[in-house]
């Protein structure tokens, strides 16, 4: 029976309970939606990494031989290791049935050690076609690129590296755990899948001629070719080939066929020899030559015994795996061929995915708190008033003999059931709307074909806490009346005589205010909870709108900072790794000498831990600027005004980004100990200046400071003001990639469109929140004051005057809410950018004044609409009924 009463009561107080329901639903939907996608990303990633065995460590060096591999595999704790060669190439796709036009894009080719028969580390997940087979004549293509370009097994891809070409059939479409997120180069923030692909194949398909060319270019063979005339002369002068070999080329094998080698040398030197001649030439110089052993593998991926902590469960790891990795790293560094050892956090694919999956964590908590807070305020005001209205009914129930506990349960059940249904609907709505859409949007960029949304236990705990909280608040809001004796409850509520201890002072400020102002001021003072709820609700609505627009503004500001403040070139040319000095000179002559060199280093951070980073040796003539704290650009050679602590050109003097200094606890008063990866020379140098960079926390150095160390400056990138839009990198010798600033900026559109989707949702939620809160506040206020408005109407007050009195308070509350919501919106946006975005980013909220204007206008509009809607009931006040009801 009481259930029926509850249902009818809820229906007759629909708007108030709808507010509680809506707030709980939104809180739950936002939390579960964001968690489902965030946790889904984490768990799916972990599943892929575990099932397809993502490597734990990556080794790099100039070359890893078979004996190096034996040493690596013998290190205690190393379970598996696989060497490979990654190569930046250009791919041309031809569709088997000609269904689409062929096209060319930059691609990464990954060549697997020929001795590997079955993959044990970074295994393939085959979406289409067959699994890896080193003997199968073909390649395996990355799934996202394949899907974006409609490529299937059977299609043909020609990969080109310098003059070498490999034309292979696509045998399989795959996902690989270390290629979840791959960018063309480090400057690309969001890689569009169709613009960059990658392919795996056995090293045996690498063009042999390219291998021969590589060997011919070695110092020893080039030396031999230079000496060929004098060697021939010796032979013509009667010296036997053996004597020449022994006396002139003592470091060569005695089995060398010098005669054949010298016979072929002219064609080799003139670069007219074909593959066969090159092979014969090398075989003559190195009779033991074995092509398989000549393959160069500069990378090794290593699987360590034991299970690496996952992204989702990572926090539960006790650190033992990390300790084990640390010991293994030390042992691996003992191997001569090893230049650097890096873990998963330095794997760009892994760290980008991990960072993205963690982004939602701060969002979900923050929004849930906000909505729950408003829901609680709604519960307090609604239940308090509701129970007061039911005073006589409570008395009647008590008089009938209902136990207090039963009546308590009855009234608590209002909050309980409304919030319970709210969380259930929140689950039902949040997962398919927010969760599914956010997950799908994220997965447009990340290749994680396993798993999906994940509903963690914590969601149910949060749901239970929400229901419990609303129920407890319901209890505390109604317990005063419920605890009164039956007889007292049946009486009308005694007015609070002592509520106002003081009379109004004659001639005070109040006496000078108009009636409407006075009336509203006192009404606000009397209904504090309702007022606070209104202000918080409006502030929340304003905050969400500010955040929605503020996030977009901040992103645009970040783009301006990066693409106008820091990157100040028009075109960027990335040098080939084997660019010759002649090619460099040609490029300098054509495009200028603004260059940089990226140097991978290891250093000890402020906590004594070995970290990996990059120094950009900057000789870019201001085309890569450094920004100070206030984002003002400076040429590196000027230093950073106010943040330059010592000589920036002293040997090894470093510039460090402010966030790096903070995150790695670096002490600018102490010297930083570092070395270039692959070199055993350790340096200790000052952090001479601190700069800010929005997306890369690393070091920089002047060319002079770098060269003062005795290091050779070998630029890898050139910057120019010349617009090279449409110029193919193949058309310029010595260049592997060309990017223009507008094209780099365009790449950000993917990220922005995703954010805009989120922002649209924000605005809808903000509008709904604002409408619900202001409507509920207005309705509560209207119900409470109806008899007063009736009295005014009886006295002869017309509709416009009553409307003015009624609207005035709404305007005040709206203005207060806006005044709080605008700065709070900034703070929340700033908080998101500072704390919720990955460590690599350093940018604050930057909100255009128009965002504040839109947020204020939007909130006022919502207030105006709800006020007009509600005010219609003022027109039709039934004075008789209203006054009777009050009696």
């Amino acid at each position: 029976m009481l259930i029926r009463k509850m249902l009818r009561d809820i229906i007759s107080n629909f708007t108030q309970f709808l507010t509680i329901f809506a707030m709980v639903t939104i809180a739950m939907a936002v939390y579960v939606g964001i968690c489902a996608y965030g946790d889904g990303m984490k768990v799916s990633g972990d599943e892929l990494y575990a099932e397809y065995n993502l490597a734990d460590l990556w080794l790099s060096g100039s070359e890893f031989s078979e004996s190096d591999m034996d040493k690596i595999k013998s290190v205690e704790g190393v379970k598996e290791a696989m060497r490979y060669m990654p190569l930046s190439m250009t791919g041309t796709v031809e569709y088997a049935d000609g269904r689409r036009e062929s096209f060319s894009v930059p691609m990464e080719g990954v060549f697997i050690d020929t001795s590997v028969k079955t993959l044990s580390v970074n295994r393939f997940r085959v979406a289409e076609g067959k699994n890896y087979d080193p003997d199968a004549d073909g390649l395996w293509l990355g799934r996202m690129f394949a899907e974006a370009r409609d490529i299937h097994p059977g299609d043909i891809i020609t990969l080109k590296y310098e003059d070498a070409e490999i034309t292979k059939e696509v045998l399989g479409i795959i996902s690989v755990p270390d290629h979840v997120y791959v960018t063309q180069d480090a400057s690309v923030i969001f890689q569009q899948a169709e613009d960059y692909g990658w392919a795996y194949m056995s090293m045996r398909w690498f063009p042999q001629e390219a291998m021969y060319d590589n060997m011919i270019e070695s110092e020893a063979i080039q030396g031999f070719l230079s000496a060929r005339d004098s060697l021939n002369m010796m032979h013509e002068n009667g010296m036997s080939w053996r004597d020449i070999l022994v006396t002139q080329l003592g470091d060569m094998s005695p089995d060398v066929d010098l005669e054949t080698a010298l016979e072929l040398a002219p064609d080799i030197a003139d670069e007219t020899a074909g593959e066969e001649k090159k092979h014969a030439f090398i075989k003559a110089l190195n009779p033991d030559f074995n092509l398989e052993k000549a393959y160069v593998y500069p990378m090794v991926c290593v699987d360590v015994e034991g299970e690496a902590p996952g992204i989702y469960s990572g926090n539960k790891d006790d650190g033992s795996f990390e300790k084990k990795l640390d010991l293994i790293k030390r042992d691996l560094y003992e191997i001569e061929a090893v230049d650097s050892v890096t873990g998963r956090d330095m794997c760009a694919s892994y760290s980008a995915y991990k960072s993205e999956s963690e982004e939602g964590d701060t969002f979900s908590g923050m929004f849930t708190f906000l909505f729950l807070f408003i829901a609680s305020l709604s519960v307090i005001t609604t239940m308090n008033r509701f129970v007061k209205k039911q005073r006589m009914q409570i008395g009647a129930l008590k008089a009938l003999g209902f136990r207090n506990s039963r009546i308590y349960r009855h009234y608590i059940s209002y909050g309980f059931f409304v919030s319970l249904i709210g969380v259930i609907v929140g689950f039902a709505v949040g997962i398919p709307s927010l969760g599914v859409n956010l997950y799908a949007e994220e997965m447009d960029f990340y290749d994680v074909p396993v798993g999906g949304l994940y509903i963690a236990e914590k969601n149910y705990i949060v749901a239970a806490v929400i229901v419990l909280m609303v129920t407890v608040v319901t209890y505390f809001s109604s317990r005063k009346i419920l605890s009164e004796p039956a007889a007292q409850t049946l009486r009308l509520e005694v007015p609070k005589i002592k509520q106002k201890k003081k009379s109004e002072k004659p001639g005070g400020i109040m006496s000078r205010l108009s009636f409407a102002v006075k009336w509203n001021l006192r009404d606000v003072a009397r209904s504090k909870a309702r007022t606070v709820m209104g202000i918080v609700g409006v502030a929340g609505s304003t905050l969400l709108i500010v955040m929605a627009y503020g996030m977009e503004d901040s992103m645009l500001n970040y783009l301006d900072w990066e693409f106008s403040g820091i990157l100040r070139f028009t075109s960027r040319l990335t040098f080939d790794s084997d660019i010759t000095n002649v090619e460099k000179s040609d490029l300098y002559r054509e495009y200028g000498k603004a260059t940089t060199q990226s140097v991978a280093i290891e250093y000890y951070d402020g906590n004594g831990l070995l970290q990996t980073s990059v120094i950009t040796v900057n000789d870019s003539e201001g085309m890569i600027a450094l920004c100070d704290h206030d984002k003002v650009s400076h040429d590196i050679n000027e230093g950073i005004p106010g943040s330059t602590y010592s000589d920036i050109n002293a040997p090894g003097a470093l510039f460090a980004t402010e966030k790096l200094i903070k995150n790695k606890n670096l002490d600018i008063t102490k010297k930083l100990k570092w070395h270039i990866l692959g070199s055993d020379d350790w340096y200790e140098s000052n952090i001479a200046a601190a700069n800010r960079d929005p997306q890369a926390q690393q070091f920089a150095m002047t060319r002079q400071a770098f060269e003062s160390l005795g290091e050779k400056y070998e630029p890898d990138t050139l910057y120019t003001d010349i617009d090279l839009t449409g110029v193919d990198d193949e058309d310029i010798d010595g260049v592997s990639a060309i990017s223009t600033l507008p094209s780099l900026r365009t790449q950000m559109s993917g990220m922005l469109s995703m954010i805009q989707g989120m922002l649209g949702l924000f605005i809808v939620v903000a509008g709904a929140l604002g409408f619900i809160i202001i409507y509920n506040m207005g309705l509560l206020s209207m119900n409470e004051k109806m008899y007063q408005f009736s009295t005014l109407k009886v006295l002869g007050f017309g509709f416009p005057k009553i409307m003015k009195i009624y609207t005035m308070q709404n305007i005040w509350i709206t203005l207060c809410g806006i005044a709080i919501g605008l700065p709070a919106g900034y703070c929340f946006t700033d908080f998101l950018f500072v704390f919720a975005i990955g460590e690599e980013y350093d940018f604050n909220a930057h909100i255009d004044p128009s965002a504040y204007i839109i947020a204020s206008a939007g909130t006022i509009l919502v207030m105006a609409i709800t006020s007009i809607v509600l005010a219609q009931s003022l027109r039709k006040i039934d004075m008789v009924a209203s006054l009777k009801a009050n009696e």
Binding site: P495, K496, I497, Q499, K500, S503, E504, K505, P506, F515, K518, W519, R522, D523, R526, Y787, Q788, S790, T791, L792, K793, V794, L795, G796, F797, G798, F799, K801, R875, M879, V880, L883, N886, E887
Partner: protein
Amino acid sequence: MADKVVLKDVSKIYKTGETEYRALDHVDLNIEEGRFVVILGPSGAGKSTLLNLIGGMDNPTSGDVIVNGENISKYSDRQLSDFRAHTIGFIFQFYNILPSLTVLENVELVKEITKTKVDAKQAVRDVGLENHFYKFPNQLSGGEQQRVSIARAIAKNPALLLCDEPTGALDSATGAMVLKILKRQCDADRGSNTVIIVTHNALIADTADVVIRVKNGHIVSVEENPSPMDIDDVSW
């Protein structure tokens, strides 16, 4: 004397779903100017409905309500507001004063709606609350709150004062005091003001010039009282 209030064949029917309730059934009534009128009847007889129609708070289902020669049953909402603002004073059983305003402010409220010169302080003094100008309603007793309500009603010196159970929530002494004030208002302006009191308390009837008895939506009787009893002589 001229008729202050005339009701011609007035009916008021309330509908709840398919149920009709006839609160007033073809009522005809004349009330002369300057009379102290008491309308008597049991609960549900239709007396408050009668008062509400006279005061322009409600519209009749049929018939005409004429006050000061004007048929207010034809008035628009706006005209009714003006009519209540300038012609009528209301007093209710449960006072209906605004809790957010002080005693003086509650009375000064009248200034917001009428151009008539209002001496709010004098009105408060008239009801004996000169020591409570700046108090809030919740600092006053029930009788004091009712006197604030009267002060608000008489401050604009209405030609027609309508009182719905004005003593219903008061003790006898306070009730007598309130009636005296009402009687005084009736006698003011050389006796041109009309006061109509709705009550189920028959004792009050002895003090009235005219007693109208209502039952089941009909006027049962209209009795002239040639010698109204002095309020102090009424044994409550």
